[in-house]
Symmetry: C2
Subunit: 680 residues, 2 copies
């Protein structure tokens, strides 16, 4: 029966694929037809309205190409998933299809020269944002699109078709990247992330900066060499090299992580890689904008100057912390009580996340970074306040947006290899870049791992280090940063090289993940629960983190969500009135109904209810809050902490049974005498 179903679905999939191919063929024909009719109408009567209509039609057809690409990708992914092909991830596939369509667009479709472009040469002394042109009494409004290199003016008029399928680079930054980054923050696996937070921060901050400077220096050497050999046709300054270092330091191992997830690779390795890749995107964005902002004053604008460097450094700190603060603040703000109307709740959640991005951009911070921290904060606090229905809806919504945006970016990457007009492929630079990227990653992982291992109980083993080295794929963020500005010769060369780096890492490194895993003898099929109980040693988490955790659990969560212990229990008694004002009335209600239905669905409730057990019991025993107060204010035991982190993640597996009989099979977690009271 199973076999029959497989054959049947495979047959159906093939049929669907063929239908799709037919549709895309007809689309291609439409595109050709549309472009030819455009030509005709342009010849016969140049009416603005008609031209606008034609241009709209053309735009629809162009967008349709991308949609068809995505559709084709989805269908092929499904075939692959169905047959358990693991060596090509959906993003790699999207790139391949993109390349194919790019080739067709570049060489397959001939579009006659569009005669409706014109170059004005009248004396204008500025380039205003809006321009009004007086054509024999009629006024036409034009908006500034950007500067164009003088030597490309002819190209601009030539390849109308290719330019049509070229998106405004800001689309990536302002529309496609935010959902991807937000989703990364929103789906961060919290337990293992927090347990490895120190290491992740080290890799993401220190590591990215190290990698950026190592790559920058190596590339500068390479560029110097090229200048000696005479291979360089334009300016290439040290800041350009550093900028290149910053943008290729953002790793995006989406392919690797998908395989890790599927094969259930060690959770700590997963957390390290995922956490690093999420945070180093943020670091790379701010770092690159700080490098661009480095502008020494005076005549020679490319010498080293301490003041300018300090200013850049200050800008890095300012923008990063500003974006961080803004993201966390809006994440905390989104604090809904619309549980009866999941649609309103989901809409509000979506709008608040989006407005974080816009607010950050409007204030001059970095929207992407703000959105990342907004996502992390919302997963930590807001998620607990949502109704179960909205929890599902928001997760699914951002999962879908992430999926579409990611595949769109990767297929566009493939397309742009052939449709981008100003590629500068310089073999020496490319070889240099590959070496530099490799060495930069190595300079990030190995020294930092060595230093971190000095402080870690649970060492990062050498095979993990090799795997992290190998998994340094480059992806959406690197592409979006490099395509953002391709005005100068240096930037064009960087863009072309970056594209090759992305292709190589996604296809070769991404495709070789399973081989690498078996070669490095990394365990697969690890049951996350078992693995976890094995390692729950007390002093594993950093003391800094533990202090923050206690503060968060005792004060922030009760104030911001309905799920913490009431503040009256955690604050010293002198703050009683304040505590009563700030505590959500629902927290008191929880007191009456410990087995409340929806509290059972809250992410971190496992521990909350447990801890809560402590409070009620000790309150009952001594008749006052104070007896249990210090234990909480001073610091929950490491056991508590460990338990919260343990139960945080598999809330769905254990739903409902947890309170009565926790399913940890290695050791009974209720070693506290207080807890025994709850057991039958």
């Amino acid at each position: 029966m199973v076999f029959r179903v497989t054959v049947n679905s495979a047959w159906r999939a093939t049929r669907t694929l063929w239908l799709l191919v037919l549709v895309s063929l007809s689309v291609c024909i439409c595109v050709c037809r549309a472009s030819s009719t455009q030509e005709d109408s342009a010849m016969e009567n140049i009416v603005t309205e008609k031209k606008a209509e034609e241009s709209h039609r053309q735009d629809s057809a162009d967008l349709l190409i991308f949609i068809m690409l995505l559709t084709l990708t989805i269908l092929t992914i499904w075939l692959f998933k169905h047959r358990r092909f693991r060596f090509l991830h959906e993003t790699g596939l999207a790139m391949i299809y993109g390349v194919l369509v790019g080739v067709v667009l570049r060489y397959g479709i001939h579009v006659p020269r569009d005669i409706s472009n014109a170059t004005l040469s009248c004396p204008v002394n500025a380039s205003p944002a809006t321009l009004l042109i007086n054509v024999s009494g009629k006024f036409y409004e034009y908006t500034l699109k950007g500067e164009i290199n003088a030597n490309e003016v002819d190209d601009v008029q030539d390849n109308e078709m290719l330019r049509k399928v070229t998106f405004d680079p800001e689309v990536f930054f302002n529309i496609l990247l935010p959902p991807i980054i937000f989703h990364a923050g929103y789906s961060l696996k919290r337990r293992h992330f927090f347990r490895n937070m120190g290491s992740i921060l080290a890799y993401a901050f220190l590591g990215t900066v190290i990698s950026c400077f190592v790559i920058g220096l190596l590339m500068y050497g390479c560029v110097m060499l090229m200048k000696q050999v005479g291979q360089l046709d334009g300016d290439f300054f040290f800041t350009d090299c550093l900028f290149f270092g910053a943008i290729v330091s953002a790793t995006d191992p989406v392919t690797v992580l998908a395989i890790f997830n599927e094969l259930q690779v060690d959770v700590d390795l997963y957390a390290l890689l995922f956490g690093e890749s999420v945070l180093n995107d943020a670091v790379a964005v701010v770092l690159s904008s700080s490098i661009v902002a480095y502008q020494p004053q005076g005549d020679n604008s490319h010498t080293f100057e301490v003041m300018a460097m300090l200013k850049s450094f200050g800008m890095f700190l300012g923008v990063f912390s500003g974006s961080f603060a803004l993201g966390v603040a809006t994440g905390v703000f989104t604090f809904t009580k619309l549980r009866d109307f999941p649609l309103l709740e989901t809409a509000l959640f979506f709008l608040m996340s989006w407005s974080t991005f816009l607010l950050a951009e409007a204030c001059g911070f970095t929207g992407v970074v703000a959105v990342l921290f907004c996502g992390i904060t919302q997963a930590h606090y807001t998620f607990n306040n949502l109704s179960p229905d909205s929890q599902d809806r928001t997760k699914q919504l951002f999962e879908l947006l992430n999926f579409l945006a990611e595949n769109f970016i990767f297929s566009y990457m493939g397309l742009t290899l052939f449709t981008f007009q100003n590629h500068v492929f310089n073999p020496m630079f490319i070889v240099g870049a590959f070496v530099a990227v490799f060495l930069g990653r190595a300079a990030n992982i190995y020294p930092l791992s060595f230093l971190l291992n000095l402080g870690r109980r649970n060492k990062i083993r050498s095979n993990f280090q090799h795997m992290m080295m190998f998994a340094g794929l480059r992806g959406a963020m690197t592409f979006a940063l490099s395509i953002r500005d391709t005005a100068t010769y240096a930037r064009q060369m960087m863009f072309s090289t970056t594209l090759l780096v992305v292709f190589f890492t996604v296809w070769i490194c991404g495709g070789g993940t399973t081989q690498m895993l078996s070669c490095q003898r990394i365990r697969v099929g690890v049951d996350s629960d078992q693995d976890n109980s094995r390692r729950s040693t007390k002093h594993e988490s950093a003391w800094l983190f533990r202090i923050w955790y206690n503060f968060d659990h005792n004060y922030l969560k009760p104030i911001l969500t309905h799920s913490g212990p009431p503040l009256t229990a955690t604050l010293p008694p002198c703050c009683g009135p304040l505590a009563r004002i700030l505590t959500s009335p629902q927290a008191y209600e929880n007191e009456c109904q410990l087995k409340d239905d929806d509290s059972d669905l809250i992410l971190t409730d496992g521990d909350i209810n447990l801890t809560y057990g402590d409070i009620t019991v000790s309150t009952d025993a001594s008749g006052a809050h104070t007896s249990s107060g210090p234990a909480f204010a001073g610091g929950a035991t490491s056991d508590d902490l460990d338990r919260e982190l343990t139960y945080g993640d598999h809330e769905l597996v254990m739903r409902g049974t947890r309170l009565v009989l926790p399913m940890d099979d290695s050791e009974p977690p209720f070693t506290d005498p207080h807890h025994r009271l709850h057991l039958p």
Copy 2:
């Protein structure tokens, strides 16, 4: 306890509202600051890059205003829903907030004159789509935005701020309208829709055309009068009047329907209103574009000409049927078998719906119409093939998109009352328009209802007619059509008047719905099931529809979904091999497992399983397919038809219990002797 919860949530909501107000205030400050910094930087150094950055920042701030507006709307809606205020719907509220923000933007914020605009007066003999400007050796690219009236050239430079918050009108048509229309099609209540299909089609097609011509003629009279009195400052042709008639004929009773849904008003009335409003949007779009296309040849371009009219009429038919065919075709195409991967499935569904729109636009048809029929087709066929998870996901996704787009359009409508630059409010025209809209609606509803009642068993009573007359609200479609082109004097006057019509109908008619219901003594709180069984008379459905239904049920559904009876059972035996090729193998599997889990979730399964029961039984009895074949090919009995339509809608209510014991409480639906075999 209930009271406590309410107070608590109200308090929390108030707090959230205040926070939101604070946030929006700070946003306003940011906007002011951003615009002032823009000024400064523009003065000191005109660098293209910096200007682009500033403009991006400004755009973010502008968009943020809208997001904040939506957020505020959502929070207030929630308060209203919580307190069961019914006289103001979310769309009406969104408009009020829009008006308020529009007033603030217009009169509250003073932005100094932007000096960076410039008018070129050099001799250009065309208005190309792309313009290259040579500013002292550097080339800047400009794109055409549109033509501007000569007398507004000064305005353009003045009100930079107001123009910044003005969206490209095409945004409404290409981004915001499609999800709304698709959602309408996807959520069409099928049972009552099909039962009243004849009447709905009559109201939507005939009625809209009648309304369009009545309004057009009345307005032409009004315009003639205005010309006599000397109140007309520009050209206003008969085609303009007809165009106005077409755009205000699209009804959008979203407010009324929301109340109907909440109060459980008579389902037939609901179906008539909803079906009419969904379809007349499509008719109005195509009608208006046909009227625009009416261009008599020769010198005097505004006389009547038979050929041009026939051409327009042909265009109407062509575009409408083309869009219809395309929508249905893609709806049928989206025919997935990715049930194991809901994310892929949802993504594919979304992409296919979108590509319908784009394909139609690229082919020169009307995307919105194609999307509507695509939605209806997908609800009918594709929905049955989706996994239960994807069924939820797609519903929720389009529900969210619809909600956001709708509220955005309505709040923009409010905003544009003050921020639109070229309002022409002419009292005489406005009064004339209100009278014409009223009479046009009356000329649609009353005569058609009279004619329809001649053929209907279940008459449309006069109170229903009054209610339909009253519920002729104008909304998103009317607005999107009227803002699309505001270049001429006539169009500007139409736009301003349309805005007032929308405001009046949404606020006054929408707000008075409950009063109107009680005034017309229309029953509320009707249980849809009871109501239904009461009326299940045999010959209610039209014969035309019954023929189509049989064809659909016996041939289309088995080919296109997994849920029909196998084709081998419905086709004559001579077509056996063909039938076996076309039938989904899953349909055979259903043969073995009648109580299959997921077939139980399929929309129309109630009847399918019943009908299916027929086949198996008769096949068993006679040993061949032929015995039951004719019964199906010839025509399912009206009872069958009625039963399918009955069970189609409340699949969730009866899930699981239906097959064993149907919940129809008035008469046992299993009067067929075959069915008795299934009962214990």
